[in-house]
Amino acid sequence: MDDFRTRARAGYERGRRRLGLFWSAIVVPFAVLAALVDDPLRAVPLGLSVTVLAGWMAWFGQRPGRALRIGLPAGAIAYIAPLLGRGTDLVTPGCGLTASCFACCAGGGLVAGLVLSVGTDGDLRTLAWSLLLCGALAALTCLPLGGAALGVAVLSTLAVTGTHRAVRALAA
């Protein structure tokens, strides 16, 4: 029966691999869009890395797996903000950092940060994984703007998470 146990275990791993592929497939459109609207030389390898990262996080499960469900929507917000800015002509061509485009990205980063801090419920390790994915997604779009969005996301996440933990500690 040990042979069957091995097959059952292989079946479990097959299911996990499918889960990883599913989440990777969700990330692929982000990478493709980034390659289309931005520099493909940067977007393609980075997009591949994010796709592999998302797939691995889903396959591995546990903290990275839980972080994926929070980091992906947060990263999507940080990713879309610079694109929205560009679409609405808020961003100057060539990804120049103007006050208006910075405001757009900072707004996206703030929302992403709130999503991260609320979603991870104060668990710092899950937060770290979520931030990694969020940052990788944000970097897919125009790098300085994605960086601005991510910077605000990190700051707001740390602020909200810190407050959350402090409130908890006081309540305890």
């Binding site: 069957f4 059952a8 097959r14 299911g15 996990r16 499918r18 546990q62 797996g65």
Partner: protein, 176 residues
Amino acid sequence: MAAVPDCTPDLVRLADGDRTAFDAVYAVAWPRVRALVRRMARDAPDAEDIAQQAMIRVFERAHHFDPARGRALPWILGIAAWEVRTARRRHTRSREAPLTSEPIGRGPDPHTRSEQAQLLAHLEAAMGQLPPDDVATLLAAAGLAERPESVSPTTFRKRLQRARQRLRAAWGGFHG
């Protein structure tokens, strides 16, 4: 009467990706899945195969388990019951398949014929799991279809090897 152990926390851990929970879930679920399948399949000769297939399916879908929708064992046995029904339908289809045109009184006896029909049904199901290219390659290798001229002999050999490996894996789902 001994209480049925609850493997819900273990299955939750397994669904979350904690591989160390595998043995605990396996130990609780496998005897119950096996017993249920035997009862439902009325000790059919392929009951063990169906039980194994069901158990593999449970682990393949483990990440879908949501404790908010119920406990682990009913969820596991639900999948097992579904597998038995699927196997029954497959079996019924194989019985409904037209017999060979051999005249009565000649050819294999009914028992052998039934076994052959079952093997054929399993082969059809296994072939059904393969990509169309693999099926075409296997049929061409068996002389039942034309080999594509655009494919070189070396490429064809490689494709055939891959198709055979996949068929073997799919066949393993039925016959271990």
